[in-house]
């Protein structure tokens, strides 16, 4: 405060600064002089501390009306006027440069619409399965199988685990055993329907938040002959929802019986990943439908709700100890996965979650931001480019006393008005395109204008308005008045910034284009790749009703239908079905626990499916001994390490089996995973499906003939044939959607980028119109001029391609790692993407440059 080295003392600087801040301009100088003079006097008379105190007192006493400068009143009047003025200028600008306005409007509004749509999708994805109570303490039990390739995670567990966890782990509050949801045929009176159903133990509805409209949560699933159905199903079956006490009859082969409805569920919320219409009791499933209840059979799904504060690690460890003890050896590990995490983080590698759908969620969040960013860049670029139109205006305003603040205000008003209009248009677009978006994404998103959206809108308006407007505002208001009015305005500084923004834009577009190409190629590869069997025109349907007892004669009749080339009983299911570890063979190591997919087979099924036998033969009813025969795939033989396997015996959990054949590896799950060990059992009477191959060309008539045949055997039963290929495509539903969505967004991104480039070129050529005229007069050809105008942009686009390609290579190869079988990244993907970006940019630029290059120079040079 006071400097001891100098003799002169100064009063408190802070207080002085305060004084200078509040004091009105015309009084400040004299009063400050007075203050200092008095202070100096007092320092001599009373000493520094006292003088300073009195100085502060003086300043405080000065803080009074009449001396304080006016902060508000005069400015307020100014503000509203300026506000009005800014608005008028904004609209005049729009009218004067309608093309710029349109480019900005189209870009920003599609950007906003994309972002909003993506936001709706993302928030729907993220909310999936989060609605159960105590979501944070709610876990699914997973089994980690030890395989040569590391741990394989699967949510199948032995059904016997339910009671053991209930009895032995006090940290667990509630344990529920369920099955996956499957389709069953359910009849009530005359009506029969295909219904999504599952089995669940008594406490199911206590821990899952699926509210009952009628019935008691704790008792509806206690009686073995009880069943709970949804309101929707009740309406479909009975035409009313008050159906307690009515009976329905689901098909379970020879175990079919009637169940009494004990409760009615509200239709399930859309953000439940599990969509079922009927719940039967676990008791019935476990006691009546499962023949091999042992610790090697992983037919159950177990969900636990922990006590508050319980450690899930500890629970997992205790559960693991139970299964080790029961199985006699550490063959599998159990782990707990948060129930609501499964949907987005459903992929596991070596027992650790490595993502899943979340990758797509993140991808689209990024893509949406990209698009909006590209659109904002357009706005920034066009405004700074247009600066030369505005510099005179700015210069004159400045010389008339406009402060930098008021100029910034003007430009920001302009951008906020634009972003408001864009948001409105964007909201309308969202509203219009939501149905299409829903059909692409397979969702039922609803667009409601609620409070959240209102707040989000305001945030979007401000964010875009300020972000996109800030650069032009700061840039334009910075010009030196004198230079501007003298006409010395040079555009160089802004040009570099503008160029780098264009580079960024096109780099982003290139990344999107390459990504879309890789995505598309991989999907094509996946869909057309040879899976080891022929899935064309292969149709299957369930064996129900009389087909179970009278299947043989149906199969004969089916084979005789014209248009059906072959048919067989089958237990084949896309995506697998049951898995077992219950296989022992000679020389098996104690620790190795190979997990086999298990399929029941009828006679001729392998042949029907077009699978190749590597060794041995297919099942045949000619050999009476085939009831104890077994067929493996190559992967299984390799995993077991059996040499010369044909004729050797192994011990299956159903008894001793003799290996009669080896089938070539085939892929029945998605190409995300390797071919896994698989075994076939010969159980023609016990298979679940009938499979037929139709002749090409008249599948429709063949199907209706099969339907007639089915109707004659099973009157009243719904006939629902499924093409294997459909099932196969369904495995890639997620990728398919991402694929088509990303195409749309990539096209959008490139269109918006080109719009910006278009605007920029139009402006640049317009500015150089005189130069072009003079060049032409001096003998330049049209192509010379086109080259002159294009080379600049070409350079920018080339740089952005150079930046974009490595980034997209990195992203692409990362994504392809998700697939066990994937395409190689070819150099020409990148070349093609780069080239197409360049060509699109050229076409955009050319429309403008050609026009101005062919212009008659007299026109451009006449006026001056």
């Amino acid at each position: 405060m006071n400097n001891p080295k100098k003799n002169h003392k100064y009063p408190s600087r802070l207080v002085m600064a305060f004084f200078r801040w509040f004091c009105s301009q015309d009084l400040a100088e004299t009063i400050e002089g007075d203050l200092l003079e008095r202070f100096d006097q007092r320092v001599e008379e009373l000493g520094y501390p006292k003088a300073n105190k009195l100085f502060i007192r003086d300043v405080i006493l000065l803080f009074r009306p009449g001396i304080i400068r006016s902060f508000s009143i005069s400015q307020k009047i100014n503000f509203t006027t300026m506000f009005k003025h800014n608005f008028i200028l904004t609209f005049r600008n729009i009218r004067r440069y309608p093309s710029t306005f349109l480019i900005n409007l189209i870009g920003l509004s599609t950007g906003i619409a994309s972002l909003l749509l993506i936001y709706l999708w993302v928030s729907d994805e993220v909310s999936t399965d989060k609605f159960h109570p105590d979501d944070d303490r709610f876990y699914q039990v997973y089994t980690n199988f030890k395989t040569p390739n590391g741990l394989q995670s699967w949510k199948g567990v032995p059904g016997l685990l339910l009671e053991e966890i209930q009895d032995q782990i006090p940290e667990v509050n509630t344990t529920v055993a369920t099955t996956d949801t499957h389709e069953y045929t359910v009849s009530a009176g005359e009506t029969a329907l295909k219904v999504q159903g599952k089995f669940a133990s008594q406490d199911f509805l206590k821990v899952f938040n699926y509210p009952l409209t009628i019935g008691n949560v704790s008792t509806v699933l206690s009686d073995k002959s009880g069943v709970v159905i949804t309101e929707g199903l009740a309406l479909n079956l009975f035409g009313k929802t008050d159906v307690i006490g009515e009976t329905i009859k689901p098909e379970f082969g020879n175990k079919t019986r009637e169940f009494t409805i004990t409760g009615i569920l509200k239709d399930l919320p859309k953000n439940s990943s599990d969509q079922f219409e009927m719940v039967l009791t676990w008791d019935f499933y476990h006691n009546d439908l499962i023949d091999f209840k042992n610790w090697g059979n992983f037919y159950g799904r177990v969900v636990v709700s922990l006590n508050e504060g319980a450690s899930f690690d500890l629970v997992a460890k205790k559960a693991d100890e139970i299964i080790d003890e029961k199985q006699g050896g550490d063959r599998v590990d159990l782990m707990l996965v948060p129930y609501s995490d499964q949907y987005l983080h459903g992929n596991f590698e070596n027992g650790v979650s490595i993502g899943g759908r979340i990758e797509y969620v993140e991808l689209f969040a990024i893509v949406g931001t990209f698009i909006l960013l590209i659109a904002s860049i357009n706005f920034i670029n066009l405004s700074t480019a247009k600066a030369s139109h505005k510099v005179k205006e700015t210069g004159i305003k400045k010389s008339l006393g406009a402060t930098r603040g008021s100029l910034i205000n003007q430009f920001l008003t302009e951008s906020v008005v634009l972003s408001t209009i864009s948001l409105t248009v964007g909201l309308i677009m969202v509203y219009l395109f939501l149905p299409q978006f829903n059909s692409i994404t397979g969702k039922q998103l609803v667009f409601l204008f609620n409070q959240d959206l209102a707040i989000a809108s305001v945030i979007i308006i401000c964010a875009i308005g300020l972000l996109a407007g800030a650069y032009p505002a700061l840039y334009l208001s910075r010009f030196d008045v004198i230079k501007v009015l003298k006409g010395k305005f040079l555009n160089s500084g802004g040009a570099i910034g503008r160029k780098s923004l264009v580079v960024l834009q096109f780099a982003l577009s290139t990344v999107l284009i390459v990504s879309v190409m890789i995505l598309g190629k991989q999907m094509e590869y996946v869909k057309n790749s040879n899976l080891g069997y022929d899935r064309d025109n292969l149709v299957y349907f369930e064996r129900e009703g009389t087909l179970l007892t009278n299947g043989g004669s149906f199969l004969e009749a089916l084979k005789n239908i014209p248009g059906v080339s072959n048919a067989a009983f089958s237990g084949f299911m896309i995506g697998g079905g049951n898995a077992t570890g219950g296989v022992d063979w000679e020389g098996k190591e104690e620790e190795s626990r190979v997990q086999f997919w298990e399929m029941k087979s009828g006679e001729g099924m392998l042949d029907l499916m077009g699978m190749e036998m590597v060794a041995g033969r297919d099942f045949s009813s000619d050999f009476a001994t085939d009831s104890t025969a077994i067929i493996f795939n190559e992967a299984a033989i390799k995993a077991m390490g059996i040499e010369d396997p044909i004729g050797k015996t192994i011990t299956h959990y159903t008894g001793t089996k003799r290996i009669i054949g080896i089938v070539k590896d085939f892929n029945f799950t998605s190409l995300h995973s390797q071919v896994e060990p698989t075994l076939f059992r010969f159980e023609p009477e016990d298979t679940n499906f009938l499979m037929a191959r139709l002749e090409k060309g008249n599948e429709g008539t063949s199907l209706s003939r099969i339907a007639d045949l089915y109707e004659s055997f099973n009157p009243g039963f719904p006939f629902k044939p499924v093409f294997i290929d459909q099932d196969y495509q369904a495995l890639y539903a997620a990728e398919d959607r991402v694929n088509s969505l990303s195409k749309y967004f990539a096209v959008l991104a490139i269109i918006i980028s080109c719009l910006g480039l278009f605007g920029l070129t139009a402006f640049m050529t317009e500015r150089r119109i005189k130069e072009i005229g003079i060049r032409k007069v001096l003998g330049s050809s049209v192509w010379n001029i086109v080259y002159l105008l294009t080379s600049d942009f070409s350079k920018m686009v080339l740089i952005s391609i150079l930046i974009g390609l490595p980034v997209s290579y990195y992203i692409g190869s990362n994504w392809l790692e998700n697939f066990a079988y994937s395409i190689e990244l070819q150099w020409w993907f990148f070349a093609l993407a780069g080239l197409s970006t360049l060509i699109v940019a050229w076409i955009t630029v050319a429309t403008q440059t050609l026009k101005s290059a062919r212009m008659n120079p007299t026109k451009s040079l006449r006026a001056e």
Binding site: T30, I31, L36, D58, L62, G66
Partner: protein
């Protein structure tokens, strides 16, 4: 009352400005008042009054030369305008009239 009325403090300030005759600036006025009237005055209250009197047209001011003292800040010197002088005179006359009208008796000290 409006323009034709002088407050007590305003009158004192104007008189002091008149006394200083051309040398009247902030601190000088305050000191003059302190020495003559033993009345302590803050810069704030004085400046407000000076500004008000100037607005009313009773005082006028001009800036002096900058000097090395006072942090190089210029002084603002005040002088009484003709209107101001009129006003002071009127005010004085009004008082004198009142004084003259007071009977002598009324102003004698009565006892203790």
């Amino acid at each position: 009352m409006g323009k034709n009325h002088l407050g007590e403090f305003e009158e004192i300030v104007m008189l002091t400005v008149a006394i200083l005759h051309g040398e009247a600036y902030g601190v000088a006025i305050i000191e003059e008042m302190e020495t003559r009237l033993k009345r302590s005055v803050s810069i704030g209250s004085l400046q407000v009054v000076l500004k008000r009197l100037e607005d009313k047209g009773f005082l006028k001011s001009e800036l002096g030369e900058a000097t090395s003292v006072r942090g190089g800040k210029r002084k603002r010197f005040f002088t009484v305008t003709n209107v101001g002088k009129d006003m002071l005179r009127t005010s004085k006359e009004q008082r004198m009239q009142l004084w003259n009208a007071v009977p002598d008796v009324a102003l004698e000290f009565v006892g203790l």
